[in-house]
Symmetry: C2
Subunit: 269 residues, 2 copies
């Protein structure tokens, strides 16, 4: 479990949410799937090349989720997530992944709520992966989380109603999907939106096109020393069009290295 | 517009949400669709037989929604709903449809909220039909509404980002769909659930199977004089299995005629 590459969970739930199912039980399932040896993204994962698998994008990641969790109930999946989070540590800092979040973002969320805003998380990560922990970490309850999802089926098992996870994609909450997911889950246009990649571009466009005052912000990962530095050329979390549009439209761009005094919250005892 | 049959909107948003698109622009579109003359549910509607069309069930109703609103943006659809609600009156009472709601249900919602509960609407009706008015009427904000939906597409029209309604079904929030919709939108199991038809059965099963105290209630429409009387034989809003299961599991059943002193709220001036 601690073999997760440094890069993997540093960049937030979008990747973690999709890679977790593999970590949780993909390896155990592999012997039952000899075809994975020659089939991506499974082949890369079996070779331990998580980066290579991730570079194939979210569709590849969702294939992993679907392949590894078909038949599991939503409650069993929540247990998998909770168990993994309880034991996993970031390999560089040895801190739990739930502490590897951005302190300035925690502060802006708290500030908005203190001023009468309702806060939501809108992520490409798996919605059922995020919900078990985002309330504790970000103060955002499960019903205010929008994310990617697979389909589920209602079933009565031994007299008990359960929701079973199906190997079928339901929704990808990325790029054009973000305003669609916001409309579907929230049903109104945000007053303010915060992003850090081109996957957030349409959400920021949708937000800032609303009537009356709106606020759009991009976090630019510029700090190779304290966190990570990437933008226009990165295969994961690319920020390219967003930087151009931010300049053209006057969106706020945070330069992590220049603007953030602290990246991560202080370690909990 | 006032030719809507008495029965149609009396039984709440589930039917109204689906029939509205026809009322709003189905008749205008009919000349462009000569095939509707021989194709249900359109043929019934063209003959003015709204009851006959409704009896074909929600799939038929969603066909109407899809046929009549493809290409419209979500904001244009909201305007259609608002304009219709502003002028439409219940044919028997001459009251706006937004006042034809159940006073005891308004009271229980207010009571729950006053005691720290968060309240949601989970309806087979169209989510985009309900959201414009349920906050005013029920005190439930748009993000706490779960309903049936069609797919949308993000598009930039004349430089302005919009969400376009597509002629494609996304989700039917009825029967097995209700716990699925609750899990998808809310992400946690309800403490209490209230229903009035077999379309609510799986939601009540899912709710009452949770750990710790849970509450499940069915409203039984028994008052032909003040409202409507129907249950096991009705083609719309049938309540049959639910009555049996309520007895077997000890769910609360409200007898509208016996138990409700008032059905509708007092008329607004």
């Amino acid at each position: 479990m601690t073999q997760v590459p440094d890069k993997l969970l540093k960049r937030q739930a979008i990747l973690a949410g999709l890679a977790t199912p593999w970590l949780a039980n993909g390896r155990e399932l592999a012997p039952q799937h000899p075809e994975w040896k020659d089939k991506e993204p499974f082949a890369s994962l079996l070779k331990g090349d998580v980066e290579g698998a991730l570079a194939r994008g979210e569709h590849a990641m969702l294939e992993i989720v679907m392949a590894t969790h078909a038949g599991m109930t939503t409650e069993e999946f929540t247990d998998v997530v909770n168990n993994w989070l309880a034991s996993a540590k970031h390999p560089a800092t040895q801190r739990p992944y739930t502490e590897m979040v951005y302190q300035p973002m925690l502060e802006v969320l708290a500030y908005l709520r203190a001023n009468g805003f309702k806060t939501f998380i809108v992520s490409g990560g798996g919605i059922e992966f995020m919900r078990p922990w985002v309330e504790t970490v970000y103060g955002v309850p499960p019903e205010q989380v929008v994310g990617s999802s697979i389909k589920t089926r209602f079933e009565v098992r031994e007299g008990k109603p359960v929701l079973v996870r199906l190997p079928e994609l339901n929704f990808i909450d990325d790029k054009e999907g973000k305003p669609i997911g916001i409309n579907s889950h929230i049903g109104r246009r945000p007053i303010a939106a915060f992003g850090n990649s081109d996957g957030d571009l349409q959400m920021l466009q949708w937000t800032s096109a609303g009537q009356g005052p709106r606020f759009a912000l991009l976090v630019h990962h510029t700090d190779a020393e304290r966190e990570w530095a990437y933008d226009r050329q990165s295969s994961i979390g690319r920020l390219d069009k967003g930087l151009d549009e931010a300049q053209a439209k006057g969106w706020t761009v945070v330069d992590m290295k220049q603007d953030w005094k602290v990246i991560y919250p202080p370690a909990k005892k």
